[in-house]
């Protein structure tokens, strides 16, 4: 039995970590939906949900329960397998990114050093990028399988939008990689802990990355794939019950994960500013780190919502114009500038 030659403790440790990370991101996504409604209400001088539980805290549970009890409709002329696969894929690709994110430093438990990162791949950033580029399949497959013209239009919009903005995102990331010189997310965070945050080196890169992240998550002002006043519901027009829930949920998980990525790449990840982690005991340091990461992430999530309730949706030609003729040249310029500066200082 060669299979059992793997360190069993490691397997259990990783399994526990995976379960914790996945359930945590599910819970966070759940409460992000709640926060979205609350933020929307506050920005619009309303109160928001406050009936279910204290301060309406049980509202996401009620929403989920409602979705479970809704009637499940599968269109008669749809490709049934693909119709079911669409939301599943959307959820899967949304969750997959969390594997390489360093959630915190090492924890000492039961005499083991447990790294709070599921796996430290040496091509971590590229992995994130690859998974993000796959994210469009869930939407495309679901939209095509619904056999509905509005859905198809939404899916096509999603595909072209995500591909267009991926380019600018990738180029802005290249400039960042030139500065850090590593593809591992963990190493990036360690560098930022010792030195300063990457945002100081790459403000323009961060701005481009931020705009592209909005586009990749299909958030307003780039929510054309589901533009409800043009396409009914866009790619999820034909979906109902929990399958619709999966799509909506995947959007929030995407939002959470891209906030984490932005915090990790540009804002020091689990680095707590003005605190020297090496002086504290590892468990306390890890706890502070996780808390710091979560604080940064919640700022980003609030930014996502704030933008959603401020800026109206782009027209499609404006979207393409912004992506191809503004962001990509800007990102190229940023890359050239970064390269030039690095060359100048390393001479």
């Amino acid at each position: 039995m060669m299979l059992l030659s793997i360190d069993l403790g490691l397997v259990i440790e990783k399994l526990v970590l995976i379960v914790v990370v996945i359930s945590a991101s599910l819970v966070i996504a759940m409460y992000t939906t709640f926060a979205e409604r609350k933020v929307a209400a506050i920005l619009q001088d309303r109160r928001g949900p406050n009936r279910a539980g204290p301060f309406g805290l049980l509202q996401p549970l009620a929403d989920g329960l409602k979705l479970f009890f809704k009637e499940e409709i599968i269109p008669a002329f749809s490709s049934k397998f693909l119709f079911i696969m669409g939301p599943a894929l959307a959820m899967l690709t949304a969750m997959m990114t969390s594997a390489v994110i360093p959630w915190g430093d090492k924890v000492e438990l039961f005499g083991r050093h447990i790294s709070l990162q599921i796996t430290d791949v040496n091509v971590g950033v590229l992995y994130v990028f690859g998974v993000v580029s796959l994210g469009v399949y869930g939407i495309m497959i679901g939209s095509w399988a619904s056999n509905n013209k509005f859905s198809l239009l939404g899916g096509l919009r999603a595909a072209s939008q995500i591909i267009s903005y991926e380019l600018a995102m990738g180029i802005s990331m290249i400039a960042l990689l030139m500065v850090t010189g590593t593809l591992s997310l963990k190493e990036m965070v360690v560098q930022q802990q010792v030195g300063h945050w990457n945002i100081i080196n790459q403000p323009l890169g961060f701005l481009i990355f931020l705009v592209c992240a909005f586009a990749e998550c299909n958030r307003t002002p780039f929510d054309l794939p589901e533009a409800e006043n043009e396409l009914i519901g866009g790619y999820h027009t034909e979906y109902s019950s929990m399958k619709l829930g999966f799509y909506l949920f995947a959007e929030y998980i995407n939002m959470f994960i891209s906030s984490v990525i932005m915090a990790t790449l540009f804002f020091g990840g689990y680095d707590m500013p003005f605190v020297n982690e090496s002086l504290l005991s590892p468990n306390v340091a890890a706890l502070i780190g996780v808390a710091a990461l979560m604080a940064k992430v919640s700022c980003f999530i609030f930014l996502f919502m704030w933008v959603r309730w401020t800026i109206p949706r782009f027209r499609y030609d404006q979207l393409m114009h912004l992506g191809w003729r503004i962001l990509i040249p800007l990102a190229l310029f940023n890359m050239l500038l970064t390269g030039g500066v690095i060359l100048y200082f390393h001479k």
Binding site: M2, L3, I6, S79, L82, V121, N122, V123, L126, Y127, F129, G130, S133, L134, V136, Y137, M140, I141, W144, L152, G155, L156, A159, S160, I162, I163, E166, L183
Partner: protein, 174 residues
Amino acid sequence: MNITTLVFILLSVMSVGSAIMMISSKSPVHSVLWLIVVFFAISGHYILLNAQFLAIVNIIVYAGAIMVLFLFVVMLMNLNAETEPIKNYRLQLVGIISGGALLLVIVSAVMKIDTEQLVEMKVGDAGLIKVLGMNLFKNYILPFEISSVLFLSAMIGAVVIGKKDDEVVNKPEN
């Protein structure tokens, strides 16, 4: 039988099986989706060969970008059984001959393989990003730059084609 062999067999079955599914499935959209599965299996093979960079780039470029565009076009064309072109038996015959010739070449190549020199798994670092970068930018800088010129010309060509009806697009609104 260790875990690497097991994974290798699994990935091989997956890649060959989905390749067959890809050419035999009736709907073009299903073909494209099976092709994506093939790319994933191939990426798995890359990882077994310790070439993580190639694996992830394969996913980003092929599965993430090119196949999305394929899917995009196929969905837009809305191909289905009724719009399938009329079968031309002469064309089929030519196809069988050329496909058979390709098969012959592959089979003869496989027969000549020295079974002593199989690819070793999990060793070598040719596919790691650092080694690959050094190789590309030191030993193979000329081919790399020439291919980049090729890409640039392709990009310019695409822009030229796209700009063809510029007058129509840039007409002032009302």
